[in-house]
Each structure stands twice: as structure tokens, then as C-alpha cells.
């Protein structure tokens, strides 16, 4: 299938205008010895129906039936209101470029402004950008930003931070002379604050804290921020499950200086890990060091309200090697989905949503740990995920439950060798009571035998 729109006549006429006889001549500036002398060795073109069939065939190689899944760990299954898909598939949103020409991009700029406002309201911060790639690179950008502000070599990150986020931070900072130190967790599943106290010193630029953390445990961000500030370090809050912002005290209220995270929960499908939606907000003092695009309000020559991309001098296309980040294209369409999602749920809906996540997870935690042979691994307060431990290897549990088309959660041993037999179970509002009971029964059957 070709998507070009020229007829043979058009081509002839255009070649005539240009003054050449054949399109090959257009490539005369390319030296002959590097020209490709053969066809590309890729499959021949498919028509639309053939392409469609090919992909349905590919998709069918995934598991044929959607399993009853309790997977979370930075990617969450939530219900997506119909209006999100409907509105976000409009060509006027899908097919424009980045809104550099403000006069013909007011739709995008306006909704970025609304997104920024809601991110500020949710995180308790002064300013927000228009999005980053995802939660992991957001965490890395926040670390780089704190280092630009503080100019001190050490960054403390907890082991309760998503393991992939920790890895991405390592990758991003490797060549900049930063020292990334990890802080362990205690029996509650929270960051070990006594270890944090020991590691914090005057050389520390920032302390990172994810809450709810990778174990689903709610951290005491207030205490962690206070400790950070006492050592003249910044407090970076990472939110990997953004629905929690609907009910938990905002990171800003708890002393965070920079808030970043993953907003996939706001109306973005699981999509095998991407595209997702990184977000970032901070206190206004740090505006000049803030990465990413920002929409700002202004007026046109007639005095009408309008929006523009502003403070661009922070960005790579102007400041080049001294830019606050190299980020350029980011996740605008995902940001649009999140904006629609948040406006549909609204003030009351956000709280109800978070409340249901807490209630379902709490119920699931209770019925599972009531089973003989299943115990809670950590004592801390949980949001919509929790860690349980059994005598069996989690891998084995996964294999057994797979036969019943149930996916019980993520095995933690790969990331935490000390957490043998531990699994991370996620229960969002989409899981019904009967789903949770089915999971519990499956565990009971398995552990009986």
C-alpha cells in the first residue's frame, strides 16, 4: 500500500518544472560508490487487508485469553472511560507537530496548561512541565536537575524505588561523575531511615523517595524530606502509581522539592510498557533548572487570552549543550489522554478511585494472608499493592496458577535475592470481589497440596 498522492502526469510535469528527465537525477549529489545497487532485502509490500491480517496473526501469538492478572509494579490496569479514547483519537490532536506555531496550536497549548495545573494541584507544587518520556526517565531527569541545583556529587536512592527506575538513573548519570548510593529497607517495607541518616551528608544533592514504593508500602515522605533538608539536600518524590495522588497527602505538603513519576494510570493502556507518561513538577525557585516543555498564558495583539511554549531558553534547541535536558519530542498524546481522564473523574472521582484501590487491595491482602502458608512480608501501610511470602518459590506458584489462567503478581527474587518466595500482588479497582476470591482459592488449593 502506497500513501503518495502524485499521478504519473503530476510527476512528469514536476520533473519538467525542475528541468530534469528522470527522478534518478535528483540523487546525483550522492557519490556513486555508496549508492545501493540492489533492492532492500525486506518483504514485498502488503495491501491494507494483508497488513491487517499479518498483525492479527502476530497478536494471536500472545496468550489467546486475557488472564486474570494481579500484575502491577509500575504499570497498572485501570478502567479507561470511553470519552478518553474517543476524544484522543481526533486527527486534530493525533496529527499535529509540537505546538511551535502557537496561533494554529491553541488546542494543544491550552490543554497542556490544564494538565500542568492539575499536576500542580495533585502534587502540591508550583510548576509542572508538559510531560517526560516515562516514570523511569523522569526519575533520572529529577536526579540530574537536583545535581544542577546543588552541585554536590552524592544522590541517595532507596532500594524501595522501582528497580527499573534505579537502573535508568544509573544509566543517565554514569558519565557525569555522580555517586549513586542505595538505602536499604526495614521490616515495615519502608526506606530504612536510620541508614538514611548515616548516609546523608553535606555532599548529598538529593534523596529520592518513591511512595507508594515498589512494595506498595506508603513511605513517610514527611520524615524523609525533613532529614534531607537538615543536610541541605533536596527531597525528590517519585510517584509510580499516580492514582494514589487522589487520596494521599500531596508530596508538596510533605516537603518534596521535586515531584516526578509515571502517570500511565491516568487513562493510558498497558501497551506492553509504552508509550506511557512521565510527569514532573517542582517548586518555582527551580524554574530555570526545570527540564521539558512548558505552556504559559499570555495575550495576543487584540488582548485575547492565548498560550505559548515558553521559557524555551532552557531547552536544547536554544541552549544547546547547556540545556537543562536534551528532551525534545515527549509524550503529548498520552498527556492529552491523562488530561481528559482527570477532568472526567474530577475532584470527587479521584478520591473515590483511590479509595476503591485501597479497599480492594486491603481486602485481598486480608483474604490471602488468612490462608495458612501465606504471610505478609512487610508491616507497613499499603496502597494497592502488597508483598506476600509463601514456602514455595514464586516462580512455581506462577506456573501452577497459569493453568487456571491466573497471573498472581510479580516475582521479587530477581530484583531482591533476599526476598525468596515473595511476590508483589496488585489489586486495582478493576478487580471484582469474585476475582480476588478466585485468586485466594487458587492459593489455598495450591498450598494445601
Amino acid at each position: 500500500m502506497k500513501y503518495n498522492s502524485l499521478s504519473q502526469n503530476d510527476k512528469k510535469e514536476m520533473l519538467k518544472t525542475i528541468g530534469i528527465s528522470s527522478p534518478d537525477k535528483l540523487f546525483d549529489s550522492i557519490p556513486d560508490d555508496i549508492k545501493l545497487k540492489k533492492d532492500l532485502n525486506i518483504p514485498s509490500a502488503l495491501s491494507e487487508p494483508e497488513t491487517w491480517d499479518t498483525f492479527n496473526e502476530l497478536a494471536s501469538k500472545n496468550s489467546p485469553e486475557t488472564p486474570l492478572s494481579f500484575l502491577g509494579g509500575g504499570a497498572y490496569l485501570h478502567y479507561i472511560p470511553a470519552a478518553v479514547d474517543y476524544l484522543s483519537s481526533r486527527g486534530e490532536f493525533v496529527s499535529p507537530y509540537t505546538p511551535y506555531q502557537a496561533e494554529v496550536s491553541q488546542g494543544t497549548l491550552h490543554l497542556i496548561f490544564e494538565f500542568q495545573t492539575m499536576i500542580c494541584q495533585l502534587t502540591g507544587m508550583d510548576i509542572s512541565n508538559a510531560s517526560l518520556y516515562d516514570g523511569a526517565s523522569g526519575a533520572a531527569e529529577a536526579v540530574l536537575m537536583s545535581h544542577r541545583i546543588q552541585r554536590k556529587p552524592k544522590i541517595l536512592i532507596p532500594k524501595t524505588l522501582h528497580p527499573h527506575y534505579r537502573q535508568v538513573i544509573q544509566t543517565y548519570t554514569k558519565n557525569l561523575g555522580l555517586e549513586i548510593q542505595e538505602v536499604s529497607y526495614d521490616e515495615s517495607g519502608q526506606m530504612d531511615t536510620s541508614e538514611l541518616k548515616k548516609k546523608l551528608d553535606k555532599e548529598t544533592s538529593a534523596v529520592v523517595c518513591q511512595s507508594p514504593n515498589f512494595f506498595g508500602v506508603i513511605e513517610d515522605l514527611e520524615v524523609i524530606s525533613k532529614l534531607a533538608h537538615e543536610s541541605d539536600a533536596l527531597s525528590i518524590s517519585v510517584v509510580a502509581e499516580a492514582s494514589s495522588l487522589g487520596i494521599l497527602k500531596s508530596p508538596g505538603e510533605m516537603g518534596a522539592d521535586i515531584v516526578t513519576g509515571e502517570a500511565q494510570s491516568f487513562g493510558i493502556p498497558l501497551s506492553f510498557g509504552g508509550p506511557y507518561l512521565g510527569f514532573m513538577s517542582c517548586r518555582k525557585d527551580f524554574l530555570r533548572q526545570f527540564p521539558g516543555r512548558i505552556s504559559g498564558q499570555t495575550k495576543d495583539v487584540d488582548g485575547k487570552r492565548g498560550f505559548v511554549l515558553t521559557l524555551s531558553t532552557r531547552e536544547q534547541h536554544i541552549r544547546r549543550e547547556r540545556a537543562t535536558s536534551n528532551i525534545c519530542t515527549n509524550q503529548a498524546l498520552c498527556m492529552l489522554r491523562a488530561t481528559i481522564f482527570l477532568e472526567l473523574l474530577g475532584k470527587k472521582g479521584m478520591r473515590e478511585w483511590a479509595w476503591q484501590n485501597i479497599q480492594k487491595a486491603s481486602y485481598a491482602n486480608k483474604v490471602l494472608t488468612d490462608i495458612k502458608g501465606v504471610e505478609s512480608r512487610f508491616s507497613g501501610q499499603i496502597y494497592n499493592e502488597f508483598v506476600i511470602k509463601t514456602e514455595k518459590k514464586w516462580r512455581q506458584i506462577q506456573e501452577e496458577l497459569k493453568k487456571k489462567n491466573i497471573v498472581p503478581g510479580i516475582s521479587l527474587e530477581k530484583y531482591y535475592p533476599e526476598l525468596k518466595g515473595c511476590g508483589l500482588v496488585c489489586v486495582t479497582e478493576t478487580r471484582k470481589k469474585k476475582d480476588i476470591d478466585t485468586l485466594a482459592e487458587a492459593f489455598e488449593d495450591l498450598l494445601k497440596s
Binding site: 530555570r288 524555551s312 531558553t313 536554544i318
Partner: protein, 128 residues
């Protein structure tokens, strides 16, 4: 246009010396090239500067430009007014739009700078 009692650099800064103290800013040509100035990053009072050292940044909507110290010296004052009112740099670059005051270390360094007429000639060369 360009005051005779100023000295000028090729990077379009001006310096006016009175006794040991000098005032430094950017020239009218510089501000007109930048367009609407939106932000000025100032040094701290007490900073020691070498000649040609960057001491600040001037930002317009679409451009960023370093500002260099024409001579060596110690910063004695910065124009805080630029924080709230950066457009002064556009409106009055040679007076109210001054950026820093310096205690000059070595006045002989001024000899390497251009006079007003030399600077104007230099600008003519750039226009071509």
C-alpha cells in the same frame, strides 16, 4: 549613540570607569540583536572575575547570550532591578540597564578595548 566615555568589547559589552569603580552592561547593538530580553542571570556581589570571564547570562525569548567581563575585577554591586524589569535592558541599555559594578584590578586592560568610534566602525564591518 555610543557614549564616548565608555570602552567596548567585541562581544558587545560596554564598560565605564570612574575612579576604581567600573559599570558594565551590554550595548544597544547587543540588545537589538537579542530582541525582547526576558531574564538576566546576575553574579554574586564579591565574585572575582578575570578579563573575558562569563559573569552572567542574558535571555530573550529565542536566544541566550553570555555576558563577559571586559576587564578583571571584583563585583561590588549588581543591578537587582533587572530581576523584576528585564526589559530595561532593551529600553535603556547604556544607563538604567547596567548589569554589574566592578572594582577594577588593572586599568591597563582597558587599553585593549575599543573606543566608541572604533566600536561603531566594528559594527559597520559586521553589518556587511
Amino acid at each position: 549613540m555610543y557614549p564616548d566615555d565608555f570602552h567596548y568589547t567585541k562581544d558587545h559589552e560596554w564598560i565605564q570607569v570612574k575612579g576604581d569603580e567600573a559599570t558594565v552592561g551590554i550595548t544597544d547593538f547587543a540588545q537589538s540583536q537579542m530582541g525582547d530580553v526576558v531574564y538576566v542571570e546576575l553574579p554574586k556581589v564579591g565574585d572575582e572575575l578575570d578579563a573575558h570571564q562569563t559573569f552572567g547570562v542574558v535571555e530573550s525569548v529565542k536566544a541566550v547570550s553570555d555576558v563577559f567581563s571586559p576587564v578583571a575585577g571584583k563585583v561590588t554591586q549588581v543591578n537587582e532591578g533587572l530581576n523584576d524589569d528585564p526589559e530595561v535592558l532593551n529600553k535603556d541599555p547604556h544607563s538604567k540597564g547596567w548589569i554589574i559594578k566592578l572594582k577594577v584590578k588593572d586599568k591597563s586592560e582597558l587599553e585593549e578595548l575599543m573606543s566608541a568610534s572604533e566600536y561603531e566602525k566594528y559594527l559597520e564591518g559586521l553589518e556587511e
